[in-house]
């Protein structure tokens, strides 16, 4: 520590440090407040409906006052799983292309362009989904309306391609050159090197990115709200992705606008939000742990 200077300056320094300390713990306070308010507002629903019925009841019918989250859970799972498949199938090849195949000039142009597209607001994706995707799917698969679990999955899957591709590209590029050169020197082709050396070495980073993206897909609101159809019933049969559904986020965003403050419906929507928050927080922490572990082990890639 520094000596000298007047006492005033030392007290000034202390005050500054105290201010910074306060700003630093704000994040903790806010995280706690978010949990506190979501729990406080959803307690009446857990109390009146009962936790088992609320979480696992297989009917969500707000005008009738029946609140069971099972239909939301199945729709959300279907949307997320399908969106993730689309996301990985398209995003990972793009990342491999950017990191291994593209010319330096091509990457110089494509990487920022893709990063830019990651910032397109979700409401714009929702708008395009309503005007373009929904009518396209409706006519292609001869559905009643194109609004469906499939539409939401396609939209969310495409929406998060830039996010997945940029993170995966970063972890692919962080794999030390020596690994690749060693493999090539042993006579492996470039593809064999990518498949057997680069991808496995970057796999933890890729898995962390995928988990992060699962959280993003589950938590994405506006795009899902506008194309999923927002009818809270389980699809029958369960794999019927052409049926309309309602995800956690779309139910909250679609119904919260018209509920009376403090009603059971209001409280149940907060309970949905709480479940969503818990799931996403668990996913984020998992992703964080994986990333921290990689950093410890390899110095980060």
């Amino acid at each position: 520590m520094l000596r000298g200077g007047g006492t005033a300056r030392r007290y000034g320094d202390k005050a500054v440090e105290a201010f910074f300390f306060f700003t630093a713990i704000t994040s903790i306070i806010i995280m706690a407040l978010i949990f506190y308010f979501l729990i406080r507002e959803s307690v009446p629903a857990f109390y009146e409906v009962g936790p088992v019925h609320l979480l696992l009841g297989n009917k969500w019918h707000s005008p009738g006052g029946i609140f069971g989250m099972m239909p939301l859970i199945t729709s959300t799972l279907l949307v997320t799983a399908l969106a993730l498949v689309i996301n990985i199938l398209i995003g990972l090849p793009l990342a491999i292309y950017l990191s291994e195949l593209a010319s330096p000039l091509g990457r110089e142009i494509l990487k920022p362009a893709i990063e830019l597209l990651a910032g397109v607001p979700s409401i714009v994706y929702g708008f395009l989904g309503v005007l373009v995707l929904v009518s396209y799917l409706g006519s292609t698969f001869d559905m009643l309306t194109g609004r469906s679990i499939l539409a939401a999955a396609v939209l969310l899957g495409v929406m998060f391609i830039p996010a997945l591709a940029t993170i995966c590209e970063d972890s692919l590029r962080a794999v030390p050159k020596e690994f690749k050169e060693g493999s090539l020197a042993l006579g492996a082709t470039e593809w064999q090197t990518v498949r057997n050396v680069t991808l496995p070495a970057a796999s933890s980073g890729i898995i962390a990115a995928v988990i992060l993206n699962v959280g993003r897909i589950i938590g994405e609101t506006m795009a899902a709200l506008l194309v999923v159809g927002n009818i809270a019933r389980s699809p029958s049969p369960l794999f019927d992705v052409f049926d309309r559904g309602a995800t956690f986020t779309s139910v909250i965003a679609g119904e919260m606008g018209e509920v009376a403050h403090g009603s059971l419906h209001y409280s149940s929507l907060f309970a949905v939000g709480l479940v969503l928050l818990v799931i996403v927080t668990i996913l984020n922490i998992t992703s964080e742990i994986i990333r921290a572990r990689i950093q410890k082990k390899f110095g980060g890639y």
Partner: protein, 417 residues
Amino acid sequence: MRLKILEMASVGLALTLFFTSIAALVLQSGLGHLERFWDWGLLALAVLLAASAATARPWKTLGPKRASMLQADILFFPLILYLRISGLVVPDMRLQLSGLDGSFGYNLVFPFLVLLASLVAIKDALNIHYRFTTKGRQAFVFSLIRLSALLTILILGGIFFTILFKGMWALSPEFLTGPHYSLGQKGGISTCIEGTFWLIVGAMLVSAPLGIGASIYLNEYSRSIKLKRVISIAVGGLNGVPSVVYGLFGLAFLVATFGISLLAGSVILGLMNLPTIILTSQEALKSVPNSLREGSVALGASKWQTIKKVVLPSAMPGILTGLILGVARAAGETAPIMWTAVTFTAMPVQKIYGVIPDPYQPVNNLCYHLLQLIYFLGAWDVESNAWGTALVLILLVLVLNLAAIMVRNHYRKKVSW
């Protein structure tokens, strides 16, 4: 004798089939002449592949397993033609699985089969060309990756240019400077632009001091590793909290006190931005070398003086990047503010003394305006204004993101310690 021309021809034909089938799948506007072309193309591919396989004489070196796989692949083309002739894949077909609400029509099934066939053909032709070595496999996989990257870029670019070309026609000086009327069918978006502006200003007033302060504490002051860890977990957690949950939080926490207001929306957006700003500022502070700090302290400066005069100026570009990203994020979010700050109003923002906006009033916002227009789509003639709003919104966000990337790249190149 080996005829390379046969291999080239089959690759070329397969690629043509690939692109035409993708186009047919995407456009869904009837097949027309493509039908005939694909029928003959598939037949020609089968013949070409068989011929090039025979002339390249790989059979001896192949082994029975690969040979039978090649034969199966080649049989795939006549199989599709057989399906066509036998009346299974014809224009009025409908493939319906029991219970599904959708079905698969001719315009979907036939191009899909052709797409599969073209992929199989590309694989076999490359394998024959490279005599079934690992190089053939690499050529196939890499061309697949190239094709899929190309398609992705086309999709993402298509999204942007669709909005640009559809929204261009709605833009005019009146659209940008006038308020909307008759439910958004006419008029402009001036109130939304104004509301968005004040929401962003409010959000940055909340998040900039908190975010930069937190990153300074974490990087310059904190000595307890445990506290640092807890804070960074909290920041990571906040970063992942879905935007709709922020909306719920604001509804329960702020709206009860302040009502639906600019103030509540600004605070919520500001808190949502916080992790972005903390994480980027921390990166920036970390990249300032310790020698600068030590030099300053050695000259007798106090810690705060060092931070103020040496560390912060050096880290400014990185911090600025974070702030711009925060602005972009605040501009593009809908869910956190839809119950806390906005109404579909055409009134300009009320000001106290003509300068400061009244924080207790609700405002309009670009995202919320677009959402309302989307809800009105079927009922009223709002489509052109909606495209215009979407274009303004996307341009605003993209320009901000571009600025952030440019600031980052500019200083990354320039500064070397």
